[in-house]
Symmetry: C2
Subunit: 120 residues, 2 copies
Amino acid sequence: MAKAGQPKKSEMMPGTLELLILKTLERHGEPLHGYGIARHIQRVSDDVLQVEEGSLYPALQRLSVKGWVKAEWGISDNNRRARLYRLTPAGRRRIAEQVADFERLLEAMMRVVRPAEGAS
Amino acid sequence: MAKAGQPKKSEMMPGTLELLILKTLERHGEPLHGYGIARHIQRVSDDVLQVEEGSLYPALQRLSVKGWVKAEWGISDNNRRARLYRLTPAGRRRIAEQVADFERLLEAMMRVVRPAEGAS
DNA sequence: CTCTGAGGCATAGTTAATCTATGCAAAGGA
DNA sequence: TCCTTTGCATAGATTAACTATGCCTCAGAG
């Protein structure tokens, strides 16, 4: 036993994974591999968001197909074979749109969820 | 044909529909039918969020099964046969949790998406 | 040297939520 | 009468996420 539960389990907001990946690459500046992307998201979100590998790699493939990231084989900091992802110019441009869309939906949600909450 | 395009098409944030429904019922106070719930969400969100009927009715069924809403047949304002949904006490309690979860995830997302944006 | 754990990629199969398309039915105005 | 709006509901497709699994390599422990 002694499985002293995590206070709350990590999750994901459906539909936001691609934005999280793009933003992570943007913030990190230089190319990053999948494992590193997942760890970065988890760390920056304070362990709230957990990206499963079975979600991550398909998402990276979708982003590649759309031309928003470009992948190439390289070597990680730990001297291991790794697939490094870099933002393409199109991907960089795409981020702004994704953020705008997200915030537009968010505002709309909030209008429904928050009746008339002043400042909180 | 004056089909002057919508500036942006209405969408949904996946995973948030149940919260939207519960909140709508809470705000409206008295029982509401499916059609009315959809119109309410669309109106309050300023036509950004559009709830499709094929999403709405299954969602209402899920909420019924979980015991968060209770449905009964009645008559709408327009004198038509309608299925009226009311929040149960459990459903009312559930709203707080749903909102808390949503905002927790949202904050986590924002930590990733917004590098160091002060107050916006 | 061998074993093991951590780092790392990837896919197959399942589940869950949403959308599309369709059907039915009654009310009320043209 | 006919058509639009209101109203409920399901079946099937799509999509994104999850679970579970497998393989490979590096580095440190024994």
